[in-house]
């Protein structure tokens, strides 16, 4: 699943990263708990979260997560966007809830990790 398909499905806005990101995402993980995200040991994984702060980006960076979906109209801060661009991480903002985002992506075929 590519960035274009995700944006369309989630009525999302790309606020960091490149539209030409060619990663084919295969898995998704939803959590607001960053230590839980740090247990993820899989490539091509999306993070769905309601937590919008700088440590969300740091956590994604350490876990090799290349795309973060920030749910329920939470806004990425300027410092988050700057760090995400620097770290080649996409941030997508969506008005949908974490539950709805997870449901839509699951229906589309993305796999859960646990």
């Amino acid at each position: 699943m590519d960035i274009h398909a995700i944006l369309k499905l989630l009525n999302g806005t790309l606020v960091a990263g490149q539209l030409d990101n060619t990663t084919g995402f295969e898995n998704a993980f939803a959590s607001d708990l960053m230590s839980d995200v740090l247990t993820v040991d899989a490539d091509n994984t999306l993070l769905i979260t309601g937590l919008a702060n700088i440590q969300t980006i740091r956590t994604a960076e350490m876990s090799d997560i290349e795309c973060i979906i920030v749910a329920r109209n939470k806004r990425a801060t300027e410092e988050m966007i700057e760090l995400a661009n620097h770290s080649h991480i996409c941030i997508i903002e969506t008005p949908f809830s974490v539950f709805r985002v997870a449901g839509l992506l699951f229906q589309y075929g993305l796999k859960p990790l646990y």
């Binding site: 708990l33 230590s35 740090l38 969300t56 740091r58 956590t59 876990s63 090799d64």
Partner: protein, 139 residues
């Protein structure tokens, strides 16, 4: 190769900076991405612990041909029971730490899971020393 980073307690804006720098160094050295992930996840959890609990700390990173050794030495309140701190779910984190997405008592277990060797020594009222060793080849 040796690297040193300083950490300020309570500075959540820069928490993870050292881990990020180490990740860039390991990438440049073509270290296996799976090993890099283990190293930086363990380091990042440990770095956040220093920011969350200590007044200040120093990270020493030693990259050798067969292992990566990391020592985090902090000045802080110390840990009264390391055995208890190692239990998943045990936490003394502040609300501020929890707001940042940490403080669920998973930090030390996560470090342990990602380290080949983990040594923790602590003195209450003085500080804590965490040593993390990751081997670059199977032992």
């Amino acid at each position: 190769m040796d690297f040193i980073f300083n950490i300020e307690g309570g500075d959540f804006t820069n928490a993870g900076f050292a881990s990020s720098e180490v990740k860039k160094i390991l990438k440049k050295l073509n270290v296996d991405p799976k090993i890099t992930r283990r190293v930086v996840v363990a380091l990042y959890e440990a770095e956040v612990n220093v920011v969350a609990h200590a007044y200040r700390g120093v990270i020493h990173v030693d990259i050798d041909t067969d292992h990566i050794g990391i020592v985090l030495d902090d000045e802080g309140p110390g840990i009264s029971s390391i055995e208890q701190a190692m239990q998943e779910g045990f936490s003394t984190a502040s609300p501020k730490v929890r707001e940042m997405g940490f403080g669920a008592g998973m930090g030390l277990p996560n470090i342990s899971k990602n380290a080949d060797v983990l040594n923790i020594t602590s003195e209450v009222g003085k500080g804590t020393k965490v040593e993390i060793i990751t081997y670059l080849k199977p032992q």
